[in-house]
């Protein structure tokens, strides 16, 4: 009798411990993933370490996971960089009116979280007629009735796709790297969320998912790229990729298309006939924080002066 009681006690204690362990595992492992793919997800290899068959399998699993979560079909492309292409971006400060249409076009194209709100593009507002232009004097949260405002000018900032990117150097796990077409990308399934890249970036371009990203299913852009706009996870870093899902298919980035005043230019720096090469040759261009030798491929310029 006593023996039985003891055994029962042990059993209950064991079940209890088991339950606690399961509970803990449930908490630590993202709940938005199906149990079956949990281990596959945990042991997923680095994107660049996988062969084509492995990538295909991972893409299949991720697409299933996204479908389950968002109840719609989301395709994940893995388009590779095109040979002979090095992307560059031009931004005409004399044209920008600070309307932030680029910001919201980017949010919709790239499936950014609405709550907490994530923007890959920051538009800074500067007062005209100040003694000097200093970033510290700029305003990020300006909110007037209409733009442009008489006494101000605007400067959008996003990932500058540096040729010598400090973020890539700093990443301890090689989760972010520069592809041959010059785009700095992130493997969201490899990033450990240490945020060293954010400390290293001189342009405030990187965003962290402080909470699980939140975006209603109907607002999800279903055409995605593995290294670009596919939905992200809690605890990983993201940033502008020059719309890798578009530009590797010969299209313009969403921000370029959205700009109502044509302040945004995009093209292949290796093509002497490209718009980018033309403006670098003929306009007064500068790049942000050139003294840091990051060598950005994001050129600010003034098409006309006023």
């Amino acid at each position: 009798m006593q023996h039985d009681e003891k055994e029962n006690n042990i059993l209950t204690r064991r079940t209890l411990l088991k339950g606690a362990a399961l509970g803990l595992a449930g908490i630590t492992i993202p709940l938005d993933r199906a149990n079956a793919s949990l281990w596959e997800s945990f042991f997923q290899k680095h994107f660049r370490e996988m062969n084509e068959a492995e990538i295909k399998k991972v893409i299949g699993r991720l697409e299933r996971e996204y479908e389950e979560k968002y109840k719609k079909t989301i395709t994940i492309g893995i388009e590779k960089p095109l040979p002979g292409v090095l992307f560059g971006y031009g931004l005409d400060l004399s044209r920008c009116i600070g309307c932030r249409r680029c910001v919201y076009a980017c949010v919709d194209e790239n499936n950014q979280s609405l709550d907490p709100q994530i923007h890959w593009i920051t538009v800074l507002r500067f007062k005209k007629g100040e003694k000097w232009v200093s970033l510290e004097e700029s305003e990020k949260y300006y909110n007037p009735e209409t733009v442009p405002q008489e006494d101000y000018f605007y400067m959008p900032v996003q990932c500058q796709q540096c040729e010598n990117p400090p973020c890539v150097r700093s990443c301890p796990t090689q989760a972010t790297w520069k592809d041959p077409d010059g785009i700095v990308v992130i493997d969201y399934n490899w990033c450990i969320g240490c945020r060293y890249c954010m400390a290293a970036c001189p342009y405030g371009a990187r965003r962290f998912n402080w909470a699980a990203p939140n975006r209603p299913s109907e607002k999800i852009n279903p055409k995605t790229h593995y290294l670009g706009n596919r939905p992200r996870y809690k605890g990983v870093v993201e940033k502008c990729t020059f719309c890798v899902q578009r530009t590797r298919n010969g299209r313009y980035p969403a921000c370029v298309e959205a700009c109502p005043v044509g302040a945004r230019k995009f093209g292949n720096l290796l093509d002497p006939e490209s718009e980018m090469r033309y403006l670098i040759k003929h306009k007064r261009v500068f790049r942000l924080k050139e003294d840091l030798n990051t060598n950005p491929k994001f050129y600010y310029f003034f098409a006309y002066g006023n």
């Binding site: 700093s170 796990t173 342009y203 962290f208």
Partner: protein, 532 residues
Amino acid sequence: MVQIITNFFIALRQIAVGDKKYYAWVSFLSFLILLGASAYIGQLNRGLIITAMRDQVSWGFYISNFTFLVGVAAAAVLLVIPAYLYHFKPIKEIVLFGELLAISAITMCILFIMVDMGQPLRVWHILPAIGAMNFPASLLAWDVVVLNGYLAINSIIAFYVLYRLSIGKDYKMSVIGPLIILSIPWAVSIHTVTAFLYNGLSARPFWNASILAPRFLASAFCSGPAIMLLLFQIIRKLSEVEIDNKAIFKIAELIAYAMGINLFLLGAEIFKEFYSGSIHAEPMKYLYFGLHGHNKLVPWTWFATILNISAFFLFLFPKTRENFTTLNMACAFVITGVYIEKGMGLIIPGFIPDTLGEIYEYTPTMQEIIIAVGIWASGALLYTFLLKLAIPVYTGKLRFFSKAQMVTALDIMSRRLVTVLPDTPADEVARLLMAKHLSDAAVVDQNNKLIGTVSETDIISLEVGQSTGKKASEIMSSPAVTITEDRKIQELGKILAHVKASSMYVLNRDGQPVGSVSSGDILKALENIRKE
């Protein structure tokens, strides 16, 4: 194997059993750890959004604590140098406790990094081979290497010394000497690499100053030893460990020099920033005077500055550093001062203003603080357990089970015996003893069981004429001094001393004599064990 398991249980028992004060302390720490763990589970569920960190200030309280603790861990070296290299004996005896502190501090460092990670389950991605460690490009990868290496080196040194002491032997310098030599540059390296981690970022002018690594080392050599000074006084009070005042005052003197250098380097940095007055001085302005009306860190910064300067003078003058009231005050000042200066005071201004000029003021949330307290409690608990184990080993009260203890009478006895039957004539016994050069003979019965002994003196004490005709049984002393063959070597000495004999017969299970053990045999065996 049996030895390892037995020792594991000896160690476990040592940690698990204590007095009321000990249980109260352990429960208190466990309570804090549980609080921290539950807050951390909340963080795992909801994400790092429960902290006050945001994109503008992307590192905060966790990384601040991490940085401070790397300094504490590195400071163990300050004790190692004089202790092992210059044989300054008073410090040498306590260096072990410093190394155990380094082990606890590094463990806390690793925990602070873990709780700061957005995807802690992916931590294996940082490892070489199975992960994709970005070595040598990423300074964070370097930090992983040097911190884990430091943990390994200190663990090996500390546990080797403890193990040798626990089995009653002295440690061999030929074994740990090279490791100790290695640990000195390695300690410098953990703090240098951690400084470079920030130093190497051109995006953050506040950190991007070459003076950062020297400043890190100087401040580490203040706070780390100050923590040890307080701990040593506690250890001395609560245990039988004797820590010489000379050692304490020597360490206090070293802190004074380190603090002098620290203040000098800080002054050099402040001069450069404010005199040149470039845009790079903004974070420093934020730290000391506030920027555009944002000044949450300002009172803390001045508080730390005043503490550090006061502590410097308290440590500098022999009168105040050799008085325990002012000494302990100075220690508390230095620990608090450096904790602020090298914690929040170093990390937060790196992000303020941010790279696009925005000012986001950071104050840790309650959950962040609770998680941090939980980690500090884990470190304190680990150190408590390590001390609970190390102190009795150190004072010789706790001995581990070892092969040396397995040595029995059977292993060390002399097998040369003269055995005679009870009716053997005394002169025959004398002849046998002389032939074998032995001083006594065992008298056994028909079954070869020992019933007594006849020694040379027993025979000599009879007058020559009387000896003829006497039998062994008539002149023997009985009962003889005997032990069983499975008696451990440690017991033999005590038995010999107790019975005031110079040798004993060793009996097998059937009570038959198989050999004898003399005090000389025991001495020789102990000497052999020591030599191993």
